[in-house]
Symmetry: C2
């Protein structure tokens, strides 16, 4: 099931509430990424404490490991990974695309060699739906072909993007059929493709809307394109999607991207950036980003961000985090991941509060100026 | 300051209470190892929750990184690593010994090249005391020479062990002088050496007791000797130490070693085993040890140990921990470290309860039989 209520709007921006089989999600929302059934370096308890409402899992990765037998035995991903709140699973389309030369795409689906053990595998819209049915994720993504920004060394042409987009549309219909056949009680989202071409995005969107899916995503961004191209598509597509349905911008992005996405009408975001950057010592704060490896932090007794309410900032100094990083101590990425995810989750909480109060424009302005100030 | 009360005895075993500048420690106690100012992969909050009462830090490592300037600025190790309860710091003797050919020992101290940046360094009894004074650890260990089990390819002879033990004694006196000169408000422990020779152990012990130190350790075990040799020394030395003072067996050991150590009169233990083994997928349980990498755990829905009260066993299955291990996910060693440390801390809690109740012998018998049963 999926129920979506738009509680308030401000321009294209929306404050909403999404009700799913495993709970309620206040939107706009950031969804931490838990590819292999774990948000890297963070416990479920810690995610709950910081206020994460819904996390991601990945069809492709979980199919390979632990495999469907184990996940079926556990009745899905929730019990396996000890996460009681909603889960969204990506379909595997993006990961298969990431395999590059290791995969072969046909009308039927995608053939590839398992990166784990070399086994020959075949992922189709139907198998993706079957896997996600076993995962019992609250939101199931359609299997799509993620149109790359570059194809065979050149920028993807409109013709190439159209071929890819139309394949994803045919796959969307097959996904919907299989999802229905399986009597999956959760919600299937379609994915708008069309590369960097507004006309293709509109065609994709129109055809997906005809399928009357419970939610829609914008895919094929954050795939190597220049920032301006991404911003152009993010400004173009979200508000053209049906008002009454949730809109999910896949794989985006920086804190600035999230605020822009909300202004453009996006309700849901996911990105590996907070956890991946944390493991590289790149930390987000209200006043700009900070590289903890930098020698200037060696003696700094201050927390990463004095305005932050996360457990890392409550207890530890920059000097200590710098020390952990220098010594390659595991606690370093652990504390950094909690901080960065808390930053993203809290940013969305602040955005929701601003939308509730009708002060989103002022909030976005203050956000941009705070972030641009740079952290001292 | 240090105050030690023996509350109850059972044969050589003692139930005690150690009062230090940063708090009270109920003994017998296991002390998690936090070499570089962090117990690997575990937050201070998690250590507090599991009931860890005192943790270790290492003089040698912390001297190199973050260095004394940073630690002095923070007023010591407690605030730097956000741990409010007592800390014991090892003197650096064992670590300098571990450097092998990279170090040169003289009467004055040990010259070596920094394993971090190659800098030429000189560690003496006096510098070790000065560093530990900056660290402000509740228990300061004397700088000693750890007598190896093997010397230059042969088993260390009694003559070699005597030379080494006598050097450690002279260093103990220099440590005590420097500790006094610095007016360190904490407590200095002497370390009994003497290799695998009971007569040397007794000489070392007698000379250290003359110094009237507030506590004594047994060093130079767990240095490559056969298990029987270690057990022989552990059975020999502890109860010969002054009854009124705490006794610390350094770097030991398995759960079985701890129970034997308590029976032999030891009050304090430390070992890297719970955290190091956790990172290698070796897990301790009441009913024997378990290798989580083993394929038989792939579909096992049970917790590691159904009798364990740790957060890992409360939430996660063996199948999930097996999956995390197979995928090299950071959450794997995190959850395993919490479990193993909880196992050690809880083992000591159970031992203390048995001593309180006068049932230690029965407890030790049940422990041995449970552990020998093997986990299914």
């Amino acid at each position: 099931m999926l129920k979506f209520d738009v509680l308030r709007t401000d321009g294209h921006a929306r404050r909403g509430r999404l009700t799913l089989n495993h709970g309620v999600v206040e939107t706009p929302v950031f969804m931490p990424v838990g590819t292999y059934g774990t948000v890297k370096g963070v416990t479920p308890a810690s995610l709950e404490t910081m206020g994460a409402q819904i996390i991601l899992g990945n069809t492709f990765h979980l199919w390979l490991r632990p495999g469907l037998d184990v996940l079926r035995q556990f009745g899905g991903l929730h019990r396996f990974e000890a996460w009681q709140r909603p889960i969204l699973t990506d379909s595997g389309g993006f990961q298969v695309w990431s395999l590059g030369e290791m995969r072969k795409i046909s009308e039927e689906g995608v053939k590839f060699a398992s990166p784990v053990n070399g086994d020959k595998l075949f992922l189709t819209p139907e198998t993706s739906m079957q896997i996600q049915h076993v995962l019992n994720s609250d939101i199931v993504m359609q299997f799509d072909e993620c149109t790359p920004y570059e194809t065979k060394g050149h920028i993807t042409t409109e013709k190439e993007a159209r071929v890819s987009m139309e394949l994803s549309l045919r796959w969307a219909r097959r996904c919907l059929d299989e999802f229905g056949r399986l009597e999956n009680p959760n919600a299937l989202f379609g994915i708008v493709q069309g590369g960097m071409f507004e006309n293709l995005r509109e065609e994709s969107l129109a055809s997906l809307v005809e399928l009357d899916l419970p939610g829609y995503a914008i895919g094929g961004v954050s795939v190597g394109e220049p920032k301006e191209a991404m911003q152009r598509i993010v400004a173009h597509t979200p508000h053209r999607l049906p008002d009454a349905k949730p809109r999910y911008l896949m794989g985006v992005g920086t804190p600035e991207d999230l605020v822009e996405g909300v202004a453009a009408g996006v309700d849901m975001f996911d990105c590996v950036m907070p956890t991946r950057n944390a493991r590289n010592g790149h930390l987000f704060t209200r006043f700009g980003d900070l590289k903890i490896r930098n020698a200037k932090h060696k003696t700094d007794e201050r927390p990463l961000d004095p305005t932050c309410g996360c457990p890392t900032c409550a207890q530890f100094s920059r000097a200590y985090l710098h020390h952990l990083d220098r010594c390659n101590e595991m606690l370093g990425p652990m504390l950094a991941s909690v901080h960065n995810l808390h930053y993203y989750v809290n940013l969305m909480r602040e955005i929701r509060a601003a939308l509730d109060d009708g002060t989103f424009t002022a909030y976005a302005r203050q956000f941009a100026s705070d972030r641009a100030r740079g952290i001292d």
